[in-house]
Structure formats: structure tokens, C-alpha cells
Symmetry: D2
Subunit: 331 residues, 4 copies
Amino acid sequence: MKFLSDNAARVHPRVWDAMKAADEPDSPYDGDGLSKALDARFSALFGRDCAALWVATGTAANCLALSAMVEPHGAVICHREAHIEMDEGGAPGFYLHGAKLLLADGESAKITPEAIARVIDPIRDGVHQVHPHAVSITQASEYGCVYRPEELAALSAFVKGKGLGLHMDGARFGNAVAFLGGSAADAALGVDALSFGMVKNGAMSAEAIVFFDPAMADKVRFRRKRAGHLQSKGRYLAAQILAMLEQDLWLDNARAANAAASEIAAAARSRLLHPVEANEIFLASTAAERAALRTQGFEFYDWGDDAARLVTAWDAREEHVAALARAIAGL
Amino acid sequence: MKFLSDNAARVHPRVWDAMKAADEPDSPYDGDGLSKALDARFSALFGRDCAALWVATGTAANCLALSAMVEPHGAVICHREAHIEMDEGGAPGFYLHGAKLLLADGESAKITPEAIARVIDPIRDGVHQVHPHAVSITQASEYGCVYRPEELAALSAFVKGKGLGLHMDGARFGNAVAFLGGSAADAALGVDALSFGMVKNGAMSAEAIVFFDPAMADKVRFRRKRAGHLQSKGRYLAAQILAMLEQDLWLDNARAANAAASEIAAAARSRLLHPVEANEIFLASTAAERAALRTQGFEFYDWGDDAARLVTAWDAREEHVAALARAIAGL
Amino acid sequence: MKFLSDNAARVHPRVWDAMKAADEPDSPYDGDGLSKALDARFSALFGRDCAALWVATGTAANCLALSAMVEPHGAVICHREAHIEMDEGGAPGFYLHGAKLLLADGESAKITPEAIARVIDPIRDGVHQVHPHAVSITQASEYGCVYRPEELAALSAFVKGKGLGLHMDGARFGNAVAFLGGSAADAALGVDALSFGMVKNGAMSAEAIVFFDPAMADKVRFRRKRAGHLQSKGRYLAAQILAMLEQDLWLDNARAANAAASEIAAAARSRLLHPVEANEIFLASTAAERAALRTQGFEFYDWGDDAARLVTAWDAREEHVAALARAIAGL
Amino acid sequence: MKFLSDNAARVHPRVWDAMKAADEPDSPYDGDGLSKALDARFSALFGRDCAALWVATGTAANCLALSAMVEPHGAVICHREAHIEMDEGGAPGFYLHGAKLLLADGESAKITPEAIARVIDPIRDGVHQVHPHAVSITQASEYGCVYRPEELAALSAFVKGKGLGLHMDGARFGNAVAFLGGSAADAALGVDALSFGMVKNGAMSAEAIVFFDPAMADKVRFRRKRAGHLQSKGRYLAAQILAMLEQDLWLDNARAANAAASEIAAAARSRLLHPVEANEIFLASTAAERAALRTQGFEFYDWGDDAARLVTAWDAREEHVAALARAIAGL
């Protein structure tokens, strides 16, 4: 019973169907009809003009989005535990040509205007220190916590006031939207570019970069090709994304994953290290307790010495979820 | 009737089947069983120890392979019309951190030891000019022509004698092997790293980088992640590659494409600008002749003012091929 | 008797004096009074607002200037024999983060709008090929030839019309101005940034980058520091530049070098491969003739098999120049 | 009375003399006799084979040295307050093509094997996190503290055991050697490459990169040119370095600066935030106290709200030093 990650879950049947339906040859790269439909589809979802590009991975999505905002001599402010800092193999350094990541602190891997100010304020004027060009936040955060619209409004106002760009890593954006009640626009309020995650949520190999400033997309089109991320059979990626958006499959899948996490969290109330708002549970536990869970057939990652990380995916099986909830309650 | 390119062709049914069969969750990234099977599978094919990595595009394959051989202050020698120079949006400059491409000439986009020498010899000793670290050749070439094993032996000996690495862009490697009679090892003789193309030949989104020096693969694993090319559901890419290798599907597909090209070429003998050895036909033709072909429903690219480029794919329909042959004969 | 290059000539006594006069400690980096005086001094010289930065080398000057105009996914158009292409050890690839150089042809290493068009026109729309962001020209050219103001006006209009930046490598800018009659503004007409060479013309280790668009300078200040080119005792570099500008020392020195070249050229009329407009002479000559000159004590470089390159510096000694002229006449 | 920094001090008269003596033209770049003499001169000083390159700045020295040890996908471990992290405008990101700096803690800006282990140990195996390729330490440290030979031996053994390179930023290497008693070899024990600072210690614009592994120097020669740091009149830089080494001028100058700092420190015993081992004094002080010192004519930097940083240079005037000591004692 796998609670290791949502990043290796199955591909949703409707995504399979959409890929198959795209098999008929069309123009290569992003010249096909499906790829061309993305802008309008995301514009409808967000209620404003968007330009959207597909790429194969969240790392590429994050770094390409940031490359539209950050010059090589600049920096990105992000949380100390952000994926771009901790888990992307130095990709920001590559895509941003040596720009730095400046690390902010914050509860549950969320950052606030105050946390950003604590990074910016000590930077001396002039050229001896690197200055930020953008801020990157993660929705939901590395600890599965969700920025509320009013938090985003305050963050965005602060970030714009400093003349910086604002990027959102939405590897689990669907889970955040599901938690907030369903408005994609609210969950990305004030953001310039969003990495809209699909792979953890039912797709196979397609993420969307959504730009709310079309000029950024025009630059990133060149950067995507230059990074070897412009696939020639791009229609299969576009098909995945469109299938995810069709009839809110992305939202249904995210709700299913969130519900599974909630069920587990309800059984683990006193052990939760972070509020369970999306599909991740950080569970205070001894090594012996974790061994006991594993003996019962549950797979998950240790999180340091005193905790476990459990992730539910869109395809979590109800009997596995219930079994895990019981097992945790019985510890 | 599309003869535009092989890069947007269908996905082969056996590749679809293999992807579906991979749907059950396994370890993410390249920790799954399918990804782990690649080294042995390619080692068997080439009759020597190989390490193989999947990536989504030929551009990524080429540039990552070269990144194992070329330092940022170095250069790659390639043909003036090589894909890495002409069609990859500057990706080599990105992946090689500013290393240069030094351009060689040669018939039908093939290069020889003499052509390489004409690039190297004028380079002055010392640090004022950039020195090559590797040579990249394309099999089959940009004009669909194939390096014979003895040509590769001579090239490789020359390149090694200069202390350089040797990379092969095999976007149409299958077509070259099919032409040569079926030995993958012969078609990649003396090469350090091969971009083994699958997408043009029946796969959806998976190319293989095959390293004949495992130390190169160890470095490129880091570079692949850093470039955002390590997909979390890597098992679907590995599945495509394994399906292509299973029972020589790659070779059958390439033979089908080559046969279609040969049939067309036979009808166009006096108009061929290059020998038709793989699946591309460069057809001397006037604008009026090309318009006539298009009127009959054939799609293809102009190649300058006086020629057309026609490409056959693995799924070329016999009646389309025959019709095109007739139409060309009738010009 | 050295006619190898002007790049190792003596430091002019007035430059020495200025450096000594700067010995009293002042603010480090470019916070000292001398560094701060550069903008006004160059603005006066060019008759318009300029921002000027010192750096130690022409390579740094060229590449930093270009870094204000060219994004990593772009390119620079320059002459096939430009210093940035042939002699800077790949520095443009480093400073521009992998951007390409696109090579134009032209008589005497000068380029024209037509030559630029021949580079641009075949570039396909879209992201598969690299597009230029700037043009770089050399004044005086690699063959010692000078762009006339009307040529610059035409070039600049064309380049601006394409939306590109225009950079001038002025390693021998003084020699060009001297040839044209003394107006710095005329010799840099229509240019966005100028590498104003001082080292070949009497300074020790200071070149100026002159920006006619101050926003470019603001960005390059960061890039200069990031490249390790912001010296802490910057006052000694500023002192050199100010001394060169004082009472037109730069122009007097350039005139002296040009006059020496003219005297030699007059003796070599029938052998000149390029017009002698600055301080370089390209002399058609056999190996035996060059050996004869060397036997008489003259040092210079071969230029291929059939020519010699002779360069005169600001401190060329009259008796050496006269002797060389006689020797050439006597061949 | 300036105690702001040693980085804007005068040029020593013997350095001036050496530069003047180098005025006669010689081969350009580093082909002159003086530049060629550096290897032997440093080999004699360190009692082992060295290869030494001049550059104009400490930032270039540090980053070029590191570029011989660190690949773009790697990282450098350094102290959280190291100059390369805090004061070089992102130059490591540029020179190392996006490699990261990983920050270690430690008293007085020195690091220990344990501190390095605390950085390395949490890094997960595999490609998702960046792995270090080198460690950089600063001698004397940012707080003017000196690594003892036995500390260096332990550090070096640890670093080598991890398969990493070891770089020493010796911007104030002379001050460290002076403190330790005069052996350059002891002060750089176990190091692969040393940035040997000259500019803060009496030179104008020349630092030395000393490689104890000649293969590193061979690579860095290309990188230096590529970074625009190969000056054409290199003989003036070599002359500065040779003058500094002649009759141990570097050591005498460092001793003078250290003695001045010691005199001040003796008057400030109870206020010292760090041991005064080189030429920097970090003085606990209130804003009012600092204002009082400034009223008396002393110039220096605040160090946060509760301290001052005072730096003595080789040319500190005895009466100024004595006056400062008295003033501090009288606070």
C-alpha cells in the first residue's frame, strides 16, 4: 500500500483516451491544434488572458518560468525548503545562468512579506551583493499547506512594490485549489507565472506553464526550445493537459487525493506536524511506530528521525486509506 | 498525404501497449524496473557494455551527451548543416555553457577526417582561440546519407588521435542501420556516445542516450536532472524504448520508412540531389512542379528555391507512397 | 625593431604621472573621485550624455557591452574575422551565457547592411534557430580600415530597423578618429555602446566602455562586478583614462601611430592588401622577402603564407619606421 | 585617519619601481620574461612545484581557481560569511556556470571538518540534490582569524577523504603568514589552489593564483582568457607580484599591518569580538562611541548595530594608529 509520493501514480483513463485520440499526425512541435488550444482554455479557467506552454517536468516548468523574470546577475527569493532549492539538482543555477537562490524562512514552508523583507533588508545597495529579481512560492507548500487569497494579495502587493516578479510552483496546485473551494484564479492571485502541475494529479508527462503576462511566454518559447523541452510530438502533451482540464478532471482528482489525506489526518490528529490542507501528512512518529506501519504493508518515507511523510494520490484506494487510518489510530 | 517529416508520425501500437502495461506505479524517476533494464538491453544490442539514459527529445539527447565530453571553454566540431547547429535553438550553447560549434564542410552533410583537419589545423596554439573537445556526426546525415563502418573507423581513429570525444546524433539511427544491413554496432563504430532516436521511428516521447563509456553516463545523470529532463514517471519512457527494441521493432519500422523512400527515389532518379540511403528524398524541382504535387494532395517542405524535401515515416501508407512515386514520375 | 603589435607598447609618461598622482587613498572600487569623473568627461567628448565604465581588457569591454544587449538565447552578428570571434578565447560565449556569434562577410573586415541582411534573411521565424539581438562592428577593422560616418549612419539605421543593438569594438578607435579627422562622435555614429580602447594607445591596463544609453551601464555595473572586473583600486584605472583624454593625448598618440603606418605604406604601395587607414599594414610578401626583413632586425607576424602584418604603435621610433620603409622599398 | 579597509591603500614604492622597470616592450599577454618567472618564484617560496597565474582581482582569482575543481552541476562548500558568498556579486555562479555555494558555520568565519560534515551529511545520494566538488576556506578569515597548520592538516585530510578539491582565498594570506611566523607553505598546507592576495598588501592591480597541481593551471589559462582577464601588457602585473615577493616585501608589509592592528587591539582588549590575529579589529561599541571616534577623525565601517570594523593597511601611519589606540582606550 503505497503512500510514498503522488509522483509515480497511474495515468488517468481519460488522459490515456485523450492521448490515443491525438495519434493522428498533426503539425510537429507546438503547431498542432491541441497545443494551440491551450491559451484559450487556461484563459477561460483563470478568467483573464493567459499564454500557456507545455513541458515535461515541474523542474523545467519552474525554471523556465523564472527565466522570464530573473537575469543571470539576479536572484530568486524562495523558502529554505522549496523544491527549487532542495530537489531540482541545481536546475535554477543552470536555467538562470548562475543566478542565486536567496532563502527565506516561514512556518510550514510558506513565506510572508515579513520573511521576504528579512532577506532583502540586509542586502547592501550596489553591486557587491546579489539582488533579487523574483520571488517563488509553492502552492500547496512543501508541507502541504495552502496560501489563502488574502495571503497572496498581501504577498503580491509587497513583491510588486519591490519591483520583483512573482512565480508560483504549483506542483500540487490542484490540491490547493480543491482546499480553497475551487477557484483557480483565487489560488494564483497576483502571480505572474504559474507552474500548473498535472503529472502528480493524473497526467503522464505534461505540466503547464501559465503566464499571465504574454510577453514572458514569448521569451520562454525560445528558452524552452533551447532547453530541449520542445517535443516534436507535442500534441500528446497538449492532449494530456486538455484532458485534465476537461470537466475539471484536475479538480476532481485533487479532491480525491485531499479527501484521502483528510481521512488519514482525522485518525492522526495529535501527531500532525503541519495542518493537512492538501494531500500530504507529516506524522510525528518513532522509528518503532514507523516499523510497525511498514510491517502492516504501508510504504512511505521517513522525514528525519521523528516523523513520516505520507502522500495520497488521486488514485488512492479507499481500502488502503481506511487501513492506514486505522493503523495510525492504533499506534 | 503527408511527407513533411517523420517527427510527427503516429505512435506504434506496440509502444502504446508497452506504455499501458507500465501503468502500475513503480519507483519514481529512473528507479523503476523498466528504466533499470535499459543498460542490459542496449549492451546486448551493441555487444558491449553500455549505459543508457532516456530523455524526451533529440536535442536534449545530443546536448547532454556532448556535455560529458566538452568543457565550457571548448568546442564541438560538426557539419555546417548539422541539427545541433541549425535546428536546436542554441541548445548546445546552453548545455555546454558557452562552448562553441566549429563548422566543417562535407558532401551530403557527412564529414571526413580531412574536413575535421581543415577546421583544426588553422587553430593557433594557446588560449586566444577555442579548441575542440569533441566531434559530432549525424547518422544518417541531414541529407539522409549513411556513414559506412569503414568511414566510421577512419573518423574515429582520427578523432581519438586528436584526443577528442566522438558523438553521434542518431535521430535517424535506425534508418542508417537498416541501410547498412542491420548491425547497430557497425553503424556506431568507434563512437563514445550515441543519441539513439526513437521518436521519429515509432515512439512518442523517448530517446535514448547510449554511452559506451559508463563514466560519462554517471556525469550525465546529474546533468539530466539539472536540465529538468528526469521525468518522475520515467517508466513510461523506458517502456517506449524497450518496446522499440523488442523483436527489433525499431529496425522493422526503419526498414519500412526506408523502403517507402526507395520506392519514391526509384521514380525520381534523375532529380535526386543526394543518394537516398535512409528515409529522406531531396528532389530537384521547380516551383511549378512542387505546386503540381501539392495540388495532387502531397504535403512536404520546400528546400530552397529549387528543391523539395520529402520524408517517409514508419507508418507511410503504401497507397500514398505509390501515388507520390507516380506523381513524381509524371512531372 | 618591433612591429609585432601595439598591444605591448610602453605606457605614456603622462599616464604614469596620472597614476602616481592617484596614489593617495580614496574610496575603493569605483567610488573614488577619478572614477566618478568619467561620465562627464566622455559626455563632453561625445557631445551627449554618456555613462562610462573602466575595465582592464578589450575582451572584457566588448563582452560586457554586448551583455547589455544580448540575452542568452540570442546572438551577435559580427564579421567572420572579428576579434570577438577569432581572438577572445570564447569570451562571448561565457559572458553571453551561450549566445551565438553569427558571421558576416565583408571587404577588409568591414560589414554592410547587405552583409547583415545575408545573415538575417535565411533565419527561419520561430524558435528552432537563434535570432540576433545585436550587431558588433570594429572601428578600425581587423584590417585597419575605417567606417566613414555615412557608412555608420546607414548601418545604424538598418540595425535599429531590425530592432537590434549596435556595439562598436574600438580597440583602435583612436586610430579611426585620427584618420577621420578628429571627431569622436562621428566615428561612433549611431552606436549604443563603444569599447574605447586605451591600452594599445598608451595606457597600461584600462579600457573604457562608453554607453550612450545609461540604462545599459546600470546593468553592466552588476555584470562587471560579477565578472571580477571591478578592481578595488579603481582610481588607478580611471587615472589612466583621464590622462589619455586630457588634452587629447589619445588622439595625438593615435596620429603618431597612423603617421608611422602611412610612411611605411607609402613605401609599399603596390604590396598593400588593404588600404592603410589606421596603424596596420598588411603586406603581400614572399617567405623569402619576410626572411630578408627579419634579417635586418624587423619583427612582425606572418599573415598566412603570402603576407606580413606590421603594426605601428604610438611610441614607434622614427628611425625604425624610416628604416622599415626603406627596407620594404628595397625588397 | 582611514581604517576603512586595506583595499584602497597606496602602492608600495618598490612596486612602482618594478612597474616602471617593466616599461620596455616585451611579448604581450603572459609571454614576457616577468610572467614566465612566476612559476619558479612561487615554487621557491612554497618549496614545491607551483604554477602561478596573475589576475587583476581577488574575485577573479577565487573564481578561476574554483573553476578548475568544480563542474557546473557541483557545488562549493564555504563559510556562510565567506567573501565568495557575501561580496563577489554572484561571481561564483558566473564562473562556475551555475554551481552552488553550500554554506557552513563556524566561529570567527573559520570552518572545521565537523562543520563541513554538517553540510555534506544531509545531502541525499543521487541526482536530486547538488553535491560539493570543492571546499573554499579563507586565510585569514573574514574576521581576521588564522588557520593553524594543524587545523589545515585536519581539514585537508577530511576534504581529500571526501574526494573534494581545497581552495584557499588568501586575500590576506600575507597577514596570516606573518601571524604564523613566516612560512608560506605552512599557512597553505594541503591546499590545491591559493588565491595569493597582493592588492591589499601593497600592489596595485595584481593577484596571484598559485596552483599546487599544474594540470589545474593548464585549464585555468583558458578560463582566464575566456573571462577577459588575460591582459595584453601582463608584464606590469607580473612585475608587481615579483616586487612583492622580492626580499619578502609581502611579509614585511603584512607584519606592519598586523603590528598596527595589535597595537589597537591591546587598547581594546575587553571589546574584541574576535581574536586579532591579522589586520582586522571587530570592536564592540555603541553608536555613541562610534560617533565619538568619528568626531576625532577616524574613518571605519559599522559592523551591524553594536560593533565597528577597523582595518589596518601596510601603510598605516604610526601616529594615526597610536591616536586610535588612545581614543579607544578612552571610550
